[in-house]
């Protein structure tokens, strides 16, 4: 029977102060875990609200009578046009709610009789905004629209800035990086703690903005809408939040880069490190180089809103396309900040659970760095239809299609790693296999979007939403969950219930595919993203069945994630002791106790073998007493 070590980093000192003022990278990782995972579940609830709203056309929240009137299966679009046709001159009106709409106000049956009107109404009278709605209905509709816009904005902002960017580096990176290179801590422990406090302050700004008012800009904050909407305080608060979170990210990246350069244990060369470290290293470089740009952009946005300095708003002589350039100059590299750590985790999962030496170590290591570098040169592929020059679009497309190559190489290497292994069907392995399948779909659909001709059609539709989620959830989140399951016994020294873990993994896999594969079809059929409502379109019926299915999938996915939270938290406190090396890993974090002692290793670790030498070393010979191979 396994036993927990008597003294480890969790019980080495007690009291809330010992946690809030800790410099131990492992404790900081847990502090991060509490905050980041809370953000994840909160933003997940926002996502479910968004999916609920989209399950049916029309307004769901604050709806009352609206939904029944909007969902007119036989083509409400025609009818809604007909109702407004009495005043022909409104045809040329510039407002979305012309006088005809007011005239019909209070007419509760406005849409109920479209069939008769359809015959006589000139078709150029089609009006998407239902003029048959009463004033009350319109007010509810508006409320519902604003609510929806707020929800998808919060989902995006929180998922991106509070969850996925810090997730792997700040939690698993913080915990594992020093362990994997045989160090006692990161290079700058104080900076590490400071980054957590910056994260808290940034999150507080964001929460304030949420509670204070409406942030409905989307996570992209595109100008000039973002310089006009909502209250000044709200948008300034949330942009300042993003600015501060950016610094938290820079601190973490800087700390990791220095740690990897200077703190490796004697004997560990660059190509003796686990590939997890290479992935984190590439991420750190991008964090340091790209994040300042979002900081500057957010400051410019605040200056424009606050002081009226015209940078992005054309009314002040600014250029809105410039904002997009600035924004994506950070945010495209940022998607590599999000996905590279996912890659990093998969390296460890496929090797440990199949007991095979990684296939193509150098190819994987260099492809991480290649992705990090190329990632800086493709931001313009978010802007093919923004009005940037066709020449720029050509160059960006050219570089973009090639950035798929290093990612493809990694996939092939991981699959080849499984060849002739001894594959244990553990939960982390199942996540790794899910990753290989889902990320492949995510990556390949990126080719549709990178090619110019098809991008024009697919841009800003649900195809992009699906692609993005396949990469970010199917890639990063699945890898992150795999990583949590892989290292949970190392972090807390206790094992979770494997049966529940596998059930949850299956729910996540199927729920995710139900939710997002549907959206590829929605998008190629033309459904635009960020739409609160899709009634009154020619394809409303098709969209309804697809959106409905997608929403059911989201519920399944949500259920899976809920189960995970329950058994993981339970395991952290009450799980069976797992032992020092439950999976049989060869990298150095398995050569210490679970949970590790505050100083990481009982003795100075020694480099005796590579992290993937399953062809010459048996993991059973690893020992925490020697912090390496058992002496023979």
């Amino acid at each position: 029977m396994n036993k927990l070590p008597e003294k480890h980093f969790i019980n080495s000192s007690r009291g809330i102060k010992s946690w809030l003022l800790t410099m131990d990278h492992k404790r900081i990782a847990i502090l991060y875990m509490i905050m980041v995972m809370s953000a994840f579940y909160v933003a997940g609830i926002f996502a479910l609200i968004v999916r609920l709203e989209l399950a049916k056309p029309g307004a769901l929240f604050f709806k009352d009578t609206v939904i029944e009137k909007q969902v007119d299966k036989s083509g409400a679009q025609k009818g809604s046009g007909a109702a407004g046709s009495t005043v022909a001159a409104d045809e040329a009106g510039t407002g979305p709610e012309p006088a005809g709409a007011e005239g019909a106000g209070g007419d509760e049956t406005g849409v109920a009789v479209p069939a008769a009107a359809e015959q006589t109404a000139p078709d150029n009278q089609y009006k998407p905004i239902d003029p048959g709605m009463s004033g009350d209905d319109k007010a509810r509709m508006a409320k519902s629209q604003v609510f929806y816009n707020k929800m998808f904005t919060l989902h995006g902002v929180i998922m991106v800035f509070l969850f996925i960017i810090p997730s792997v580096p700040a939690i698993l990176g913080n915990f594992l990086l020093p362990l994997m290179i045989g160090a006692r801590d990161v290079a700058f422990p104080r900076l590490n703690l400071a980054s957590w406090y910056l994260y808290l302050i940034g999150a507080a700004f964001s929460v304030f903005a949420i509670l204070h008012g409406t942030v409905d800009t989307g996570w992209t904050f595109y100008a000039p809408y973002s310089t006009q909407t909502g209250g000044n305080a709200t948008v300034i608060m949330i942009t300042m939040g993003v600015f501060i979170l950016g610094f938290s990210s820079i601190f973490t990246g800087l700390n990791f880069a220095v740690t990897i350069h200077k703190m490796r244990a004697p004997g560990i060369g660059w190509f003796d490190m686990p590939l997890f470290v290479w992935g984190i290293y590439a991420t750190a470089l991008v964090q340091i180089l790209a994040t300042p740009v979002i900081g500057i952009t957010m400051v410019l946005l605040v200056l424009e809103r606050w002081l009226g300095i015209g940078i992005f708003d054309p009314a002040l002589g600014g250029d809105p396309v410039l904002f997009q350039h600035f924004f994506w100059f950070y945010s495209h590299p940022a998607v590599y900040i999000m996905i590279l750590p996912g890659f990093a985790i998969i390296n460890e999962l496929v090797t440990v659970h199949s007991r095979r030496h990684i296939f193509g170590y150098k190819a994987i290591a260099f492809s991480s760095v290649a992705i990090a570098m190329l990632g800086f040169m493709v931001w313009g592929h978010h802007m093919f239809v923004s009005g940037q020059s066709e020449f720029s679009s050509m160059v960006f497309s050219f570089i973009t299609v090639f950035i798929g190559i290093p990612s493809g190489i990694k996939i092939f290497n991981w699959v080849a790693t499984l060849y002739k292994g001894s594959i244990a069907w553990t939960t982390p392995m199942l996540y790794a296999a899910s990753f290989l399948i889902l990320f492949t779909i995510g990556g390949l659909t990126g080719v549709h979007l990178g090619a110019l001709g098809t991008n024009v059609h697919l841009h800003d539709t649900y195809f992009v939403v699906a692609h993005f989620h396949y990469v970010m959830v199917g890639g990063t989140v699945i890898a992150f969950l795999g990583g949590l399951h892989h290292w949970w016994p190392k972090i807390f020294g206790r094992m979770y219930n494997e049966l529940w873990a596998k059930i949850a993994c299956g729910l996540v896999f199927f729920g995710f595919n139900m939710t997002f594969f549907t959206q590829f079809y929605l998008g190629s059929q033309g459904m635009p993203r960020r739409y609160h409502d899709y009634s009154g379109m020619l394809k409303t019926n098709l969209f309804e069945s697809l959106h409905g299915f997608s929403s059911w999938g989201a519920m399944v996915l949500g259920l899976g994630l809920l189960i995970i939270a329950i058994y993981l938290i339970h395991a952290a406190f009450k799980g069976e002791p797992a032992g020092d090396n439950p999976w049989g890993g060869l990298s150095l974090e398995w050569a210490t106790t679970s949970p590790p002692p505050t100083e990481n290793f009982l003795v100075d670790p020694e480099y005796t073998h590579g992290p993937y030498d399953y062809d010459r070393v048996l993991p059973e010979d690893m020992s925490s007493e020697t912090a390496g191979l058992r002496k023979v």
Binding site: H357, F359, S386, T454, H459
Partner: protein, 329 residues
């Protein structure tokens, strides 16, 4: 013109460039399917084939660290493929942006949250305005795009075209619609509260019908403009006369009592007369009010008077001579 390949994932391809875009889309899709099948099949096969048996104690595994030939193969083949895709994508992209000479121009103005499409009415200097897009089939159309507030984006899925509308800047796109019919047009750049209601329809019609539509629609539109600038100070559009003058609401076809006690049906003739010589026949009750100034030909052309009459007709329930009205598409 290439026809669209048989459609299953993409919507109907109803424009001249849809064919090439769809071929590229399906090429990439089938290539993706091939790669996906290879990756998934290998993964699943290895998972089953090399599954560790319960209770088995694993030993050392094979020392296979890399394989140069294999690695070159799986680097070079995708590289060639994506290069080819890039060229193909660029070709179809240029097709989207090189606007053929002699394209019919429609000016598009986007605002939160509506579309306005303006057509020139051949030679007259008048404009034809609409909230929906009307185009002839089989002829290149150039859309001249601008926005009056925030970013918007014009997207017609069935035509495979999309372009952002940027304030203080003009952008453009073009297409040739192949088939008559009705198509959705969406705003695809998030623009605020009613973004999802910023919809319009594209009506593709035969050339003759289109010309007729532009002409008919222009009359109505400019009639409203004349009213706004020249008539609205005294004449209202609501039911019930103002103090100054009779309302235009339901005026056309109404029988009015004049100041001399006779009655008259308000039809084209009386309206013509009242615009050119307003003092001749005054509606009872308004003779003491400020007199309307006459509008001679120099200040209001015959065509413009027709436009006003057309506008008045639109405000009226009067349907007696409906048959003689121009057919609407």
């Amino acid at each position: 013109m290439e026809l669209s390949p048989k459609t299953w994932f993409m919507p109907v391809g109803a424009s001249s460039i849809a064919g090439e875009v769809d071929w590229l889309f399906y090429f990439i899709t089938w290539m993706s399917v091939a790669f996906f099948v290879i990756v998934t099949a290998c993964t699943v096969y290895f998972l089953f084939k090399y599954k560790r048996k319960p209770g088995e104690k694993p030993g050392l595994t094979i020392p296979l660290h890399h394989n140069t030939v294999l690695e070159i193969v799986w680097t070079v083949i995708p590289t060639i493929l994506v290069f080819f895709i890039f060229i193909w994508g660029f070709r179809s992209f240029m097709g989207l942006f090189v606007i053929p000479a002699g394209a019919e121009e429609v000016r598009v103005q986007a605002a939160q949250w509506s579309w306005t499409f303006r057509h020139n009415v051949g030679g007259s200097g008048n404009e034809s305005k609409s909230n929906n897009l009307h185009v002839p089939a089989g002829r290149p159309i150039k859309l001249h795009l601008s926005s009056s507030d925030v970013l918007h984006s014009l997207f017609i899925p069935d035509f495979r075209v999309k372009m952002d509308l940027v304030p203080n800047r003009t952008t453009s796109l073009w297409f040739t619609a192949l088939e008559e019919g009705e198509y959705d047009l969406y705003c695809t750049e998030y623009c605020g509260e009613k973004h999802s209601r910023m919809l319009a329809r594209v009506y593709v019609m035969p050339e003759e019908e289109y010309k007729q539509w532009v002409w008919d629609n222009a009359k109505v539109a400019t009639g409203k403009e004349i009213y706004d600038t020249k008539c609205s100070a005294c004449h209202s559009l609501e039911a019930g006369n103002s103090e100054m003058a009779p309302t235009w609401h339901n005026l056309y076809g109404r029988t009015e009592t004049l100041s001399d006690g006779t009655t008259i049906e308000v039809l084209d003739d009386y309206i013509w007369e009242s615009i050119r010589y307003p003092h001749l026949k005054i509606v009872d009750g308004f003779e003491a009010r400020a007199r309307m100034a006459p509008f001679p030909k120099q200040s209001l052309s015959d065509e413009e008077v027709e436009n006003i009459i057309g506008f008045m007709k639109g405000l009226s329930d009067y349907k007696a001579d409906e048959a003689s009205e121009d057919p609407k598409p």
